[in-house]
């Protein structure tokens, strides 16, 4: 009897013994997982390295001052000018149009879904909005060029007697706004729904209506999240490519008028990539300088969003 017990004890203690192979395997796996996580940092470093290294060559040819102040963008002509303002104006105007659509509509939808809508409607509307965000942007571009632009042309002609050009920033911007609505509404709504119920109950107890509660209590409390949603919308608008490449034309045009055609930073990159520029030429480097500008703008907005969130974050 006692010998059996002793035998069992040795078997158990053998099993409990720390096995080197098991330890090594754990270590190897942990290292592999760590390297996978670290890989994302290398992607960022890769982006920064590629954009900077090509842009530095570009800025040896073109001075930063000219790049920022020149009012012409003709990199492929003999008389070459590199004024990024030309492309930037297209980007800013189209983004402004898009945000003028997306921010009011997206915020209204968010407040409505979070504070007003019955449960069943919310269950249907949220996935639907997600689907809207999943439509490929080239399809939106097709829609802007072949549906929205003709409709706008008809409206402009009958109402104002104005001949709207076939490519314009307005139509691209409007469709881009629709595309951005789901981003704005879903992030804002999540922020509003994370406001604790007790705050709403306090407001109702004071006799406030739903609308007053939504606008004066919930929205300020969720401000950091809503600001993050707007920033996300801005980033999307500035970086959007295909809608503009299809519907806004690819002609560089320094304008603040959304009724005109103009190229954006992103559309210019597409235009150059569609052509056949030799690797290492100045034309090839311009797209990296343009990309660097784009990256700095979106990075700036992302940092702003981060700061806003930090400043206005309320902990419950």
């Amino acid at each position: 009897m006692s010998s059996v017990l002793a035998e069992a004890a040795t078997v158990v203690s053998d099993r409990l013994h720390r096995r080197a192979s098991r330890h090594v395997k754990e270590r190897v796996i942990e290292t592999i997982l760590f390297l996978s996580a670290l890989f994302s940092v290398f992607v960022t470093l890769g982006i920064v390295w590629v954009l900077l290294s090509e842009s530095i060559v570009f800025f040896q040819h073109v001075s930063v001052w000219d790049f920022l102040t020149d009012t012409q963008w003709t990199p492929l002509f003999d008389d070459d000018h590199y004024g990024i303002m030309v492309l930037l104006s297209g980007t800013l105007v189209s983004s402004a149009v898009a945000l003028a659509v997306a921010i009011p509509l997206g915020t209204t939808i968010a407040i409505y879904l979070s504070e007003f809508a019955p449960f069943s409607l919310r269950e249907v509307a949220k996935p639907f909005l997600e689907l809207l965000g999943g439509v490929p942007t080239v399809v939106y571009g097709y829609f802007a060029l072949l549906y929205v632009t003709p409709a706008l042309q008809y409206l402009a002609l009958t109402l104002f007697g104005y001949n709207l050009p076939g490519f314009n920033l307005l139509s691209a911007g409007l469709v881009m706004g629709i595309m951005i609505i789901p981003y704005v509404s879903s992030v804002s709504e999540d922020a509003m729904r994370s406001v604790p119920m007790s705050m709403r109950e306090g407001s109702y107890a004071m006799g406030a209506t739903r609308f007053q509660t939504a606008v004066r209590v919930v929205t300020p409390a969720a401000f950091s999240g809503i600001a993050a949603a707007y920033i996300l919308g801005i980033s999307r608008a500035v970086g959007e490519t295909m809608i503009l490449a299809v519907a806004a034309g690819m002609q560089p045009n320094l304008t603040w008028n959304p009724l005109e055609p103009a190229a954006t930073i992103t559309a210019f990159i597409v235009q150059v990539a569609l052509g056949d520029l030799p690797h290492g030429s100045i034309g090839y480097q311009t797209i990296f300088a343009a990309g660097l500008t784009l990256m700095i703008i979106t990075l700036g907005f992302n940092i702003l969003g981060h700061l806003l969130r930090r400043k206005f974050r309320q902990a419950y």
Binding site: A37, I47, L105, Y112, L131, F143, A273, T298
Partner: protein
């Protein structure tokens, strides 16, 4: 006097209730803008594109004559590019998420990785195209190939996969881990045998949404120099003799569905616009059904699993 006060208050209540109603209507209206736009977009594409969709449309190469043009090279290209993207993005993305959720110590390096993933999700897609142009196409010498495009889109959807996987893992209660540890399982045994299987539906959702996004991405693929007119197919990945696999296709030139659609949209002839509508219809049905599957999985998950 008191009576007057009460009626004033009543009037105020009515006024405010009316505002509630007006806002609710505005909310519905705003929602309808989205719904209607999508309806017009989809129905318009069906009307314009459906007559063009036939067996020939899927088995013909693009052509100068609109009525003979098809999307053979485009859908084959999309399939092969997606294959590369899936093989590259899924293991790295899931591994990174597992590390961040289960293994990562609380230190500066972990913070940097986390902030970095968030930032990568906000980088415009065309910047990934520039990265790939400088790195994959020229520095690594992959050329303007299926391999370059697949890897580019893999980098693009990496943050999507990481974020979704992390959320799925985070939803698993700590008791599961404690149970496994109590029975003497190692960290990796716990992860591989418990955490990953239980979070699989959530991970699947993230992967499907990421792949749906990759299928529709146009800008980065144009930037690395995908061709818009391709009338050949890459070498088949399977061959008759040993070792039966053929990797030449990885370095082949290619086009993908959204680029084919872009090409047809930017032509002036209306006949090509019909082709664009048909290609767009195929593309939208593909991405939307993938998204719908993902949403459905998540819905069932939320409904059925109670820890």
């Amino acid at each position: 006097m008191l009576k007057q006060d009460v009626s004033e208050i009543r009037a105020l209540i009515i006024k405010h209730k009316r505002r509630d109603l007006i806002f609710a209507l505005c909310g519905l209206l705003a929602l309808m803008v989205g719904v209607l736009t999508f309806a017009v977009l989809f129905i318009g594409m069906v009307i314009d594109g459906l007559p063009r969709i036939s067996w020939e449309f899927f088995t013909h190469f693009p052509s100068r004559r609109a009525e003979h043009a098809g999307i053979l090279s485009a859908w084959v290209g999309t399939t092969l590019v997606m294959l590369v993207t899936a093989v590259a993005a899924i293991p790295v993305g899931v591994a990174a998420a597992v590390y961040l959720e289960e293994y990562a110590p609380k230190n500066i390096l972990t913070d940097i990785i986390e902030i970095n993933v968030t930032n990568l999700a906000g980088v415009p897609s065309i910047v990934y195209g520039l990265l790939a142009l400088g790195l994959f196409v020229y520095a690594f010498g992959f050329g303007q190939s299926i391999l370059s495009a697949g890897l580019t889109l893999a980098l693009l959807i990496l943050p999507v996969v990481i974020v979704a996987t992390r959320e799925a893992i985070r939803a698993i209660p700590g008791a599961i881990r404690e149970g496994a540890y109590a029975l003497g399982a190692t960290k990796w045994q716990t992860t591989a045998d418990h955490i990953l299987p239980y979070s699989a539906p959530g991970i699947m959702t993230g992967i499907i949404i990421g792949m749906a996004r990759a299928i529709g991405e146009t800008a980065p693929v144009i930037t690395i120099g995908a061709l818009t007119f391709i009338a050949f197919l890459p070498a088949p990945p399977v061959k008759g003799e040993f070792p039966f696999l053929n990797f030449e296709w990885l370095f082949s030139g290619f086009t993908v569905m959204p680029i084919q659609m872009f090409n047809w949209t930017s032509r002036p002839e209306a006949a090509f616009h019909q082709n664009a509508a048909a290609a767009g219809l195929v593309l939208v049905v593909m991405t939307l059904s993938m998204n719908a599957v993902a949403i459905y999985i998540r819905y069932r998950l939320r409904k059925n699993i109670k820890w």
